[in-house]
Subunit: 316 residues, 2 copies
Amino acid sequence: MQIADVVSFLKGADDFVILTHRQPDGDALGSAYGLLRVLSKIGKRAKVLHEGENLSEKFQYLTDGIEEASFEPKTVIAVDVADVKLLPHEYKETYKDIVDLCIDHHGSNTHYAKQYYVDSYAAATGEIIYQIEKELDVEIDIKIAEALYTAISTDTGCFKFGNTTSQTHSIASELMKTGMNFLDINRKMFESYSKERLAIECLAINSIEYSFDSRCATLWITREMMQKTGALEDDLEGLSSIPRMIKGVRVGITVKETETGFKVSVRTAPGYNACAICAELGGGGHEAAAGCFIKGSHADVREKLTSAVEKHIQKE
Amino acid sequence: MQIADVVSFLKGADDFVILTHRQPDGDALGSAYGLLRVLSKIGKRAKVLHEGENLSEKFQYLTDGIEEASFEPKTVIAVDVADVKLLPHEYKETYKDIVDLCIDHHGSNTHYAKQYYVDSYAAATGEIIYQIEKELDVEIDIKIAEALYTAISTDTGCFKFGNTTSQTHSIASELMKTGMNFLDINRKMFESYSKERLAIECLAINSIEYSFDSRCATLWITREMMQKTGALEDDLEGLSSIPRMIKGVRVGITVKETETGFKVSVRTAPGYNACAICAELGGGGHEAAAGCFIKGSHADVREKLTSAVEKHIQKE
C-alpha cells in the first residue's frame, strides 16, 4: 500500500475503532489520538481503545475535547502494533482476526492485518500519521500537532536517538508552526520523576561495579531496592542507559532482578558488540543494545557476565 | 544590519580572527568553527581564538582537519558574545575595542562592536551562522553541519527547551541531510558523565528537603560534597533542574555553597514566579528560572528561602 491507498481506504470507510499496543507509550497514544482527530476532520466517527480503563495522567491532554462516541465499529485500525500479540488483553480476542488496516513503523511487523502500511524509515508511527494527514489535505490544528509531536518526540528521545532523520525534524518544524505547547509536552514526557524514582536511581548508581579497567560498568536493580524505595516498574525508565553514559565505559550493563531470575540489558559504545555478548548467554538484540535472561544467584550472574564480556571486550 | 549586509561585509574583508565567550559551550564553539569553515569555503583565512590552550576533549571533533593558520588578523569577529566582558581574559585587552562585527542571539547584547547582527529569535548563534552560509551560497558539508548541529543542539537541550522554534527544526532537518553523525555528537554532549558526577548527584538527591506539602523541594550542593566526591564545576551541569522535575513540585530550589556564601537557583512551574521569589532576596531573573545569592549559615539560608517562598507559593 502507498500513502495514497491508505487515504483512499480511510475516505471509503466509516465508524473506526483505533487500537494500539499494550503498555501504550507516546507514539502509540499520540498516533492513535492524532489519527482519530484527523478522521474527525473529514467527518468520520472514530474511537480509540487503549489498555486499561483510564489513560495515565501524563497523557490526558491527548484526549482534550474528544467526546465519547457510541457506535458499532465497522472498521478496525491498529497503529504502532508490530504483532497482534501486543494488543491489549481485553481487546485481543475480539479484534485479532479482524484488523482491516495496520499502520506501523516496526520493520518486524508480522503482517497480521488485512492490509498494512509499514514504513520502517519513519522514526515513529506519528510520522506516518502526519503523512496521511498531508495527503488528506487536513489542516493541522494545535491538538493534532500536540498528538503527533508527542508521538515523534517520545520515540526519538526528543530527537536524540539514532532513528531521528531529516524527515523527523522537517515534520517537527511543521508541527511547531501551530504554536502548540511543546515545552509542556517535553516536561511531561522527559522531566517528571517520582520521589521513588530518585531514591532507586541513587541506590542503583551506588551499586555500580566496574570491571576490565573501568571499561565495563554493571548497575544492579534488585527486588530489595524496589521494596525499600517503593519504586514501581514505571520508575525504572531510562536507568539502563546510565552505565553506558559513564566516561570511558564501553560496555554498560544493567541487571534487573525479577521473580524468576535476572533480566540483563547490555549497551555498548561503537566497536563493541552488545548482541555478541548477549548471544553467549542465550540472548540477542542489536549491536549497540541487546539483552538476555540469566537464572541463578547474584554471584552466578556476575561470573557469567564477566566471562561473556571478556570474550568481546577488546583491548584499546 | 541584515543578513545580506553581514555577507557583504564578510566577502569584502580578509584574515579573520573569530572570538567567542569564556567557558565556551557548544553554541560558542560550534558557531565559531562553523563560521571558520564557511569562510574557508569562500577562500578566506580565519582562525578561532578560544579560552585556554587546549579545547576540552569533548569538542575536539569540531577542529578536525583545520590547519593552524599563521597570519596577522585584519578583521575581528565575535560570535555568541553578549558582552565584551565575557571575552576570555587572555584576549580581552587586545580585542575589546576593535571587534569589527558581533554575531549573536542574546537579546541582552551590549553592542560593543563596530557593527553587530543580533537575532534574539534564533535559539542559538549557530542558527545565524547557518543563515549566513545559505546567503553566501556555500554548500553545507558534514563538518559544517556537525559544528552547527552542535551549536543548535546544545543551546536547545536537544530541541527540548522553550527557545526551540519551527526554524530550529527546519535547520536541523537540512543539517541532517549531510549524513553527519548526530548520534555521536548527542552522546558526547548529553550522555557522558564522570564517576564523580554520578557520586555527587546521589549525595545531592539525598539532600533534598521538601516543604509546603512537597510543593517546594530544595537540593543542596555543599563544599563538603564536592570534596568528598572530587566533583568539579563541570560535573554539576544540569543538577539544578532536578528539584523542579519531581512530580508535584512547583518551586524547585538548588542551593550551591561557595567560598563566600550560597548561590541559589530557583525553577518554577507555570503560575509560580521564580523571579518574584528571588527578588525578595536581592536577586532576579525570569518567571520560570531566577537566582540570588545569600550569605550566612545553612540555617539562615533555609529560613530566608522559606520566608521568600511562602509569600509566593499559592495554595492550589
